[in-house]
Symmetry: C2
Subunit: 391 residues, 2 copies
Amino acid sequence: MNNFTFCSPTYFVFGKDEENNVGKYVKRFGGTKVLIHYGGGSVVRSGLLDRVKASLQREGIGFVELGGVKPNPRDSLVYEGIALCKAEQVDFVLAVGGGSTIDSAKAIALGAVYDGDFWDFYSGKFVEKALPVATVLTIAAAGSEGSTGSVITKEEGLLKRSTDSDALRPVFSILNPALTQTLPAYQTACGVTDIMAHLFERYFTNTKDVEVTDRVIEGLLMTMIHEAPKVIENPNDYEARANIMWAGMLAHNNCCGVGRDQDWSSHDLEHELSALYDCAHGAGLAVVFPAWMEYTMRHDVMRFAQVASRVWGCAMDYQHPERTAKAGIHAFRAFLRSIGMPQTLAELGGKAEDIPYLAHTAAYGNGNSGTMGGFVILQEEDMANIYRLML
Amino acid sequence: MNNFTFCSPTYFVFGKDEENNVGKYVKRFGGTKVLIHYGGGSVVRSGLLDRVKASLQREGIGFVELGGVKPNPRDSLVYEGIALCKAEQVDFVLAVGGGSTIDSAKAIALGAVYDGDFWDFYSGKFVEKALPVATVLTIAAAGSEGSTGSVITKEEGLLKRSTDSDALRPVFSILNPALTQTLPAYQTACGVTDIMAHLFERYFTNTKDVEVTDRVIEGLLMTMIHEAPKVIENPNDYEARANIMWAGMLAHNNCCGVGRDQDWSSHDLEHELSALYDCAHGAGLAVVFPAWMEYTMRHDVMRFAQVASRVWGCAMDYQHPERTAKAGIHAFRAFLRSIGMPQTLAELGGKAEDIPYLAHTAAYGNGNSGTMGGFVILQEEDMANIYRLML
């Protein structure tokens, strides 16, 4: 196990109706003038936005609003939010929505206390400070409600970049599983895939003797496999939604990633797909991750056999462990198909002739270094080979 | 799943040699005059105390010392520590040791900012504030390095009582697994038992649909089963020590207990044993917990069958699930025996004729209400029956 530090100070408030207490928590964490940031549509239609505002009003907390966040959130709205915060002397950013809204809120929060261009922090500058961010989560997927990260897309050139800092961990996050019940099956399945991907990115490691994090990751993967079919069948299954929602937070606040190297190639390969085809991140991951597994399996067959046996219940073939390893990848594909996820590049709108561009951009676009990955280091040719496995 | 709140803000610093950075972290968390609190013996002999002092000195941080903490830490030393803190204007308490030292440090920290008798907080008063506490952990067991709790024994009447508050969560904890390598096999096994007991107390619940926490608990139990025999065989196995140490923190910072009712009868029943026989807490738990399981198994046979099958690898007997449930308890007993833990009251120095006293004290001593437990509510007669199963 590697040396590590870990601190997850977010105050989590979990359960039914808890969004009605949001004003109380904003007050406890020192907010006096709030930017409420959201996407639109369902947050407004469901009455959630009204409940949030009513809760702030009960505590006498002032607020301004900025809606309109889109999936793969854009820099233009971030600039607008920063200007609004500065003009209105906002001291607290409240995201009401899913990962895109939270990531956009984090970008606004760091930009609101910075004199230069906020994009500096998405180009390598370290985030020292930001306004406090809090969340009312409506989608179980990105884990941004408990994480240090934020991903923003620059409209000019569709540059998708991320930043990471303890200053961006939400001070509190309200997780009411009932708020996710209105999510359509496809988006629910995208969220499930994203959560499982966050676990697999940490699972595939070259660090030895990491039984404790292996076991926690495996437990969370089994939770997803157990609970996801229930919500696909019955979107109103509160209990299954609750298990998925909490697993989604644990999958990405890095409690599963401490003390071990991680991979993250699949996320990097997927970013090119959602940038080019504007597909949902989870759907892109459903296509990328099994292909990446097939391609890298020989690097550590026993690790793949372990997850196949422990998580997917595949019988261990002691004479041919690679058969068990393959059976695990097959089980993952079958599971993704069963919850309605795509399997091929074509289903995302991609074509074979895009592959050289995808691989070259993944390798060298956006200032990338030419290689990616922590478990297996991939070159441009490997990336192209993996994209070809998605045909 | 029940509604819940969860916040674990402790900054964990994990790995080899990290105790040499303790001064840096004390400074970061605002300490200027430190009480170093410890037991004695090994902390001094191993040179750990000197390394801690040197690190504080490098940062120019002043300190006073108070050693002498004993297992089942006593109120007399707490009073001494409080007086020392007040006299020396200490603003930070640093525990160097295991759970007893940390619990004693927490008691000193809350007493140092209180004008009355610190025992008030162990008699029901809520802890609103305390000096910041930090730890350099030397034993993987109690989980006090990441928890809100503290248990102190009043010498007059050997009254063992606890308190609980977010104000008592350590601000940082340094976990260097190498520091636990000098621990004798018996104490190591006591720690392993305590960690597993913290997991089981949370596992046995009447709350339904808690797959996510079930799975995390099961993963941590399997980690203990996988790693403990390695350290019993080879005390210098750093990697196994590391997995156990981190599992010990996760077992008791309550990430495994959120959203579900918990039991805690076994801890309450054990407290009477360590109070009367002055046995190690882990050894007492090794005797109590399997007996409690046997006694309560019929309350929810399928939950016992689940843990038997998922954790202990017992084959599920679908026609007679109670056979699987029993096989799990049997496997737990066999595991405890294999790491050198006692099985009977006699091995702890107890006798059958003590049982009426033990049960009566457990039920009504120390202001107890007459019943205990969250999974199965036990009356005095049940407690006596469970103690009899330990003969």
